[in-house]
């Protein structure tokens, strides 16, 4: 994915494989499978170029990250049920109450 984000144009599987294999020991078919799977998930787009497929990222990294963060921070609407958050942010007023309760706990535990 990093290679696709970095490249200005769509890349063939061969090109991605050549870049990836400089740092990691991966088989050509593995790269092909991963790219195919990413395309099915609509994270990459691909076009025919002769016999080969050329892949490009479906959106810039920043855009995908923003998309993810929208999901993660949404607290109303129907995105909300998709993930279960540890805790939501609270107001200043509530933060004071929180610190008070924590102080009580620390004191009790000694």
């Amino acid at each position: 994915m990093e290679q696709l984000w970095a490249a200005p144009d769509a890349l063939t599987v061969r090109a991605v494989y050549e870049q990836v294999s400089t740092t990691r020991d991966l088989a050509y078919t593995t790269v092909m499978t991963v790219l195919d799977r990413l395309a099915k998930k609509k994270l990459t787009e691909r076009e025919r170029d002769g016999k080969a497929w050329r892949y490009r990222a479906a959106a810039p990294r920043e855009e995908m990250a923003a998309d993810l963060m929208r999901d993660a921070l949404d607290r109303a609407g129907d995105r909300r049920e998709a993930l279960v958050r540890f805790v939501d942010q609270v107001s200043d007023e509530e933060a004071a109450l929180l610190r008070e309760a924590l102080a009580r706990l620390e004191e009790r535990e000694g």
Binding site: D67, L83, V84, V87, Q89, E94, A95, L98, A101, L102
Partner: protein
Amino acid sequence: MITPVLLAVLALALAGPVPALLARSDWPYRVPRAAVALWQAIALAAVLAALGAGIALSYSTAGQPGEPRFDPSSPRDLLAAAILAMTALVVLRLLWATGKVAVGTRARRKRHRDLVDVLATPDGLIPGLRVLAEETPLAYCLPALRGHRVVVSVGALDRLDDTELKAVLAHEQAHLRARHDLVLEAFTALHAAFPRWVRSEVALEQARTLVELLADDDARRRSGPRPLARALVALAGSPAPEAGLAAAKSSTVLRVQRLADPEPGNTALAAGTYTAAALLLVLPTFTVAAPIVKAIVNAVS
């Protein structure tokens, strides 16, 4: 004629005043597991009672047992059929809402998981953990039958020490293990099935709070109350300008105050709550079933 009225009254009570009253009480927070069961019983009993009222009303309108033939020229029979059709419509709407919520939630979750998998780095501390390079403190889980994820942002890691992080992860794993998301999904579906002007947020909000308490209790048993309370304060108290604050009073204060108190555990209260839940389910079921069974027995003999 008395059965439909009773059932309708029960349905209305379970839809409005009972949840409102229960949501204002503090005791359910001491027995979160039993309280979840009670809320589920209330919701289910309300639906059953409403459907039962429809069936019973149509039945008593249609005439006496022993003349079960449908007569299209009789207005009484037509009315009965109309009431029955309305009841069926409510059932369909419930099923539709359940399906829609289930499909929609899964699709959004899958999309989110795909994004997490390309954007975040795996971490071997617990299965499915992904670390996201974001400054905003975040910790959440994506439940799934297979391939769940626990996502923690770098911003969150910066604010937590090792024991606190362990407490957060224990909390999320408790959610994943107990499939709390399915509990919430049922309440969401019920909420979505009813038109805006009759439904209330109370049951769904309470269910959300109670499953958080359940996960807190689990994490507390594993790592003690202090790291968890500290983690809650560290992650909740940090400023997040992009978030719409004060939208709803959060349950966070309740959760930390609860950790500051000695561990709750009230067997009698839990038993009482479970009994109430069971009774709630048995009562409307029997009132609906009794006349139908009687009619069948009459028809056969």
